[in-house]
């Protein structure tokens, strides 16, 4: 049996106190312990990007961080981004462009795209493609995702 540890952090603005196995990764904790199933496990080795979340404002792979490492941290998942309205413009653009098909990569894609936009990224298709290169999508061909990000940046500039 593995050891347990106390964990206190904030998830989507709410304080969370839990006792978790020290080997449990943050993604499993969010999904299985908190029922926040929007973040997805695609590879569990930090490559596919489907579990991308924000920890203290920075995108991280939920599968590459242990839950106990989130002690004292502010964690935001796709559910939190939607609830607060932070992802609303991107969500509207993704819908208008059909920038998702199965939707499994989408929560991570939203987090990465938001990081690009909030970081002042411009409507430069190559730069957007480079920024999103940590997020696998097997359905769309990526073009509509790039279009959607450009739409949000263009809309914000007007």
């Amino acid at each position: 049996m593995t050891g347990m540890a106390r964990l206190t952090c904030r998830v989507n603005g709410e304080e969370v106190r839990a006792e978790v196995p020290v080997r449990r990764n943050l993604l499993d904790f969010l999904r299985n312990d908190l029922g926040l199933t929007g973040s997805h496990a695609g590879c569990e080795h930090g490559v596919c990007g489907a579990c991308t979340i924000l920890v203290d404002g920075v995108t991280v792979r939920g599968c590459l961080m242990l839950a106990v490492q989130a002690e004292g941290a502010e964690v935001v998942t796709v559910e939190g981004l939607a609830e607060s309205g932070r992802s609303a413009a991107l969500a509207a653009a993704f819908t208008a462009r059909n920038a998702l098909q199965c939707g499994f990569c989408t929560p991570g894609m939203i987090a990465s795209a938001l990081e690009y936009i909030d970081g002042g990224g411009g409507p430069d298709r190559a730069a957007i493609r480079a920024h999103l290169s940590g997020n696998y999508c097997r359905c769309t061909g990526y073009q509509a995702v790039v279009d959607a990000v450009c739409d949000v940046i263009g809309g914000a500039a007007k």
């Binding site: 049996m1 196995p21 080997r23 449990r24 999904r31 299985n32 029922g35 926040l36 199933t37 929007g38 973040s39 997805h40 496990a41 695609g42 590879c43 569990e44 080795h45 490559v47 596919c48 489907a50 998942t77 796709v78 559910e79 939607a82 992802s87 991107l90 969500a91 993704f94 819908t95 208008a96 462009r97 059909n98 920038a99 998702l100 098909q101 199965c102 939707g103 499994f104 990569c105 989408t106 939203i110 298709r125 190559a126 957007i128 493609r129 480079a130 999103l132 290169s133 997020n135 696998y136 999508c137 097997r138 359905c139 769309t140 061909g141 990526y142 073009q143 509509a144 995702v145 790039v146």
Partner: protein
């Protein structure tokens, strides 16, 4: 009365418009319902011990220590599981001669590929199940492995199933015309090449996932299924777990990509069903990524030798292919692993006229993971071989790739006709499609750019490809051969009391937008706002019986059933309205949720008024009126084995002759999928298909060593196309509706994957040709390019 023929001009026109998907919002907010999101009371988790050997005898399996591990609910060896799951055999009668031995859910006595499940642990958490798997003591006696398909038929190859005497699973030949005479004609130039297509796999971002929930009180098993064909899976579970079909419910909610990967019978998933029944509690299994690479079906793995003979004017005299394909140790159940080879024989050269066609296909067993139908089954091989040979022939004649295709494509006014392989073809538009491709890609300007680049020492190439795609399959695909796979699909449309439509269909959604197009069809044909249409798919308990979504049939078959059902309901509703309004049915129509006067559009009654009267106040209706506010219709393709589509693709690449790296500068796809129901969804599906095709052409390969060990089992080692490598892809359409249905829609989902590899191959060889080099192996890796250039030697 408005008949089906006029549905495309109606005021509530949704067919042909870029409607956004209603289910996008849920997925964008993290509110998807994927199988791994399901948490049920008392649910336990499965993990599997898998064979580390490609071929070995199981000497002993000691599971005592595993059973004693914390959290463990049960452990089964393959032999123990065999008492609860009957084995299956992946053959179909219409593939005459195909053989495959009974396959158990978990290996018994012998393991035949690395990754084959050997024992199963069920525990409170997946982590505890994996801990216990580590404690199983397994002792194997390794056997010689038949790994390379080229050697699988040699007399000294290890025979994987001794009762068969060889590793040959199936062989088929096709012969049309007199090949020897055609090739021997004066002035015929003959070109021969050998093409190699590596193994790759679907890499669905959501891995295979199953939750099995057994209710002993009703002897009922519910499978939460990440897949494409719920009714097929119901039969498979029934047959092999020994439960009545009606006691099995299969539910597919959100599916995180499938591409054909999740439509097959996997022993680990069936064992999960048995475990749920034996433990009388829900059991979840979600493959991890290593398990996905080792056990999700692989695709392709062909060596094809092809010969083409062309006259001096470019016309094809003869085309001959010999396809060898390796399928792993068993033919996959229930679709078999011979369909891809069958498709290669059926489809090679199908866009072109020729005097003679000859093909041989051989399907062989080997000690690798199983190979089966993945997106664009057989098409990438068939198209790359025919169009690769055609380009070589063109080079030999000094003829432009566009011109040699124009000389050979079946004329747009020649339909109906039959391909050299015997396929019935109708409603195709090869010439128009190629002309449009030349226009949208700016072919002449690209040739000029290529020449300018060449002058700078930069090697660019243009690849052109013309193709057919098998879509809307009839019963001739699987049903005729005895597979429990419906070729017809059903749709139900119900008018609810509030005036909204509830629709359901037996085709399924894996992200293509199936639910969205079904709503578009129902709303448009019946006459309501699309926001008032709610869709249910993917539940054997509630939807009509049908085949699901595969072989690009969702829109063409499921869509037609929905059109027929919506039209039938409209007639039923108008009949009721006619009585209530004392008006002739022909004088009424349904528009925007209202019964209106057909001629003036004036509102006569709201749909909700009508429905509420029927449902709540039937006393107001004449006694002899029997209102039916629900209609169900089914549809199957009956006049063709398949409804073929066609397309033309163009690729522009740059090959770095120092590094061997190929960069895709541009890609163009012109597709004729008949009537386009939602151009936005179709375009992005074509793009996604092209990107998967580029993956197979340039990056993706399951690499085995000569012991049958898979070398790349992580996403870091197995390359798929990422955003940065992919170009923007231009998609254009020619619309030639199929006459087999009112809707006129053909499939569109697989064309990109089927055509892009050949277009890329042709582009790379166009870039390399002036250097005296060529590549005939996919993926076209930098190493293979450098070998072709002689920069790297063996």
């Amino acid at each position: 009365m408005t008949g089906p023929a006029t549905i495309f001009d109606r005021p509530n026109r949704y067919i042909g418009t870029a409607e956004p998907r209603a289910d996008a919002a849920r997925l964008l907010q993290g509110r998807g319902r994927f199988v791994d999101d399901i948490q049920l009371p008392r649910m336990v988790h499965a993990a599997f011990l898998r064979s580390p050997h490609a071929h070995a005898r199981i000497v002993s399996l000691d599971v005592a220590a595993a059973r004693a591990m914390p959290g463990v609910a049960a452990v089964w060896t393959g032999a123990e599981m065999a008492a609860h799951v009957t084995p299956w055999v992946g053959v179909l009668t219409h593939l005459a001669g195909l053989r495959s031995p009974p396959q158990p859910a978990l290996a018994v006595d012998v393991v035949r590929w690395q990754g084959e499940p050997v024992a199963m642990v069920v525990a409170a958490t997946r982590a505890e199940a994996e801990d216990a798997v580590e404690r199983i003591e397994a002792d194997y006696d390794p056997l010689p492995a038949a790994v390379r398909m080229e050697e699988a038929l040699s007399p000294d190859a290890p025979v994987i199933h001794p009762e068969f005497g060889s590793n040959l699973a199936w062989e088929r030949r096709v012969e049309t015309g007199d090949m020897a005479a055609a090739m021997a004609q004066p002035g015929v130039t003959v070109v021969e090449r050998t093409f190699r297509f590596g193994r790759h796999t679907g890499v669905t971002l959501e891995p295979r996932a199953t939750v099995m929930d057994y209710d002993p009180a009703e002897d009922r098993l519910t499978m939460h299924y990440s897949g494409q064909a719920p009714h097929m899976m119901q039969v498979v579970l029934s047959r092999h777990l020994g439960l009545p079909e009606e006691n099995i419910r299969v539910i597919s909610n959100d599916v995180g990509g499938s591409f054909g990967i999740k439509i097959h019978t996997y022993g680990d998933e069936i064992a999960v069903g048995a475990a749920a029944r034996l433990l009388r509690r829900p059991v979840k299994f979600v493959a991890d990524r290593m398990e996905s690479f080792m056990t999700d079906i692989h695709a392709r793995d062909h060596v094809v030798t092809g010969r083409i003979g062309v006259h001096a004017d470019g016309r094809i005299a003869g085309l001959e292919i010999d396809d060898l394909t390796g399928i792993g140790p068993f033919s996959m159940y229930p679709r078999t692993s011979a369909i891809e080879c069958n498709q290669v024989l059926n489809l090679t050269g199908a866009p072109y006229r020729m005097e003679a066609y000859r093909a041989r296909g051989r399907v062989v067993f080997q000690n690798k993971n199983m190979m089966c139908q993945y997106r664009a089954v057989g098409h990438p091989i068939a198209m790359a071989v025919a169009d690769g040979l055609l380009d070589e022939a063109g080079r030999a004649l000094g003829m432009d790739p566009v011109v040699i295709r124009q000389r050979n494509l079946i004329a747009d006014d020649a339909y109906p006709t039959t391909s050299a392989s015997g396929m019935k073809l109708d409603d195709l538009s090869h010439q128009k499609t190629l002309a449009k491709l030349v226009e949208v890609m700016g072919y002449e300007a690209l040739r000029a750019d290529q020449a300018a680049a060449r002058a700078r020492g930069v090697h660019r190439g243009i690849g052109i490809l013309s193709m057919v795609e098998v879509t809307n399959p009839s019963p001739m695909f699987y049903g005729i051969g005895g597979a429990p796979i419906a070729s017809q699909d059903g749709a139900t449309v119900r008018l609810d009391a509030g005036g909204a439509l509830h629709i359901s269909s037996s085709v399924t959604e894996q992200g293509q937008g199936t639910n969205a197009i079904l709503a578009q069809i129902a709303a448009g044909v019946f006459g309501v706002d699309i926001g008032r249409v709610k869709v249910t798919t993917g539940d054997t308990a509630t939807v009509p019986y049908g085949g699901g979504t595969w072989a690009s049939r969702g829109a063409g078959i499921g869509g037609e059933a929905m059109l027929l059902a919506a039209h039938a309901l409209k007639e039923q509703v108008l009949e009721v309205a006619g009585v209530m309004l004392q008006a002739g049915v022909e004088s009424l129509d349904i528009r925007a949720g209202k019964i209106v006067d057909e001629a003036t559009g004036a509102e006569r009654m709201g749909l909700a008024d009508l429905a509420r009267t029927v449902y709540y106040r039937g006393n107001e209706l004449p006694a002899d009126l029997k209102p039916e506010l629900v209609a169900t219709r089914h549809y199957r393709v009956s006049d063709m084995p398949f409804v073929f589509t066609n397309g033309a693709m163009g690729a522009y690449v740059e090959v770095d002759t120092d590094t061997g790296f190929t960069k895709v500068l541009g890609f163009w796809a012109v597709e004729d999928c008949g009537r386009v129901i939602n151009p936005m969804l179709v375009d992005e599906q074509v793009r996604g298909g092209v990107v998967q095709g580029i993956g197979g052409a340039l990056y993706e390969e399951c690499l085995y060593d000569d012991q049958g060990q898979l070398l790349n089992t992580t996403m870091a080692d197995y390359l798929v196309p990422m955003a940065a490598e992919m170009p923007d892809i231009v998609v254009a359409h020619v619309e030639t509706p199929t006459k087999t249905s009112i809707l006129g829609a053909k499939g569109a989902g697989e064309a990109g994957t089927g055509g892009a590899p050949g277009a890329i191959l042709n582009a790379v060889n166009d870039a390399l040709a002036p250097l005296g080099a060529s590549v005939w192996q996919m993926p076209i890796t930098p190493e293979r390019v450098l070998r072709a250039l002689g920069v790297v030697a063996d």
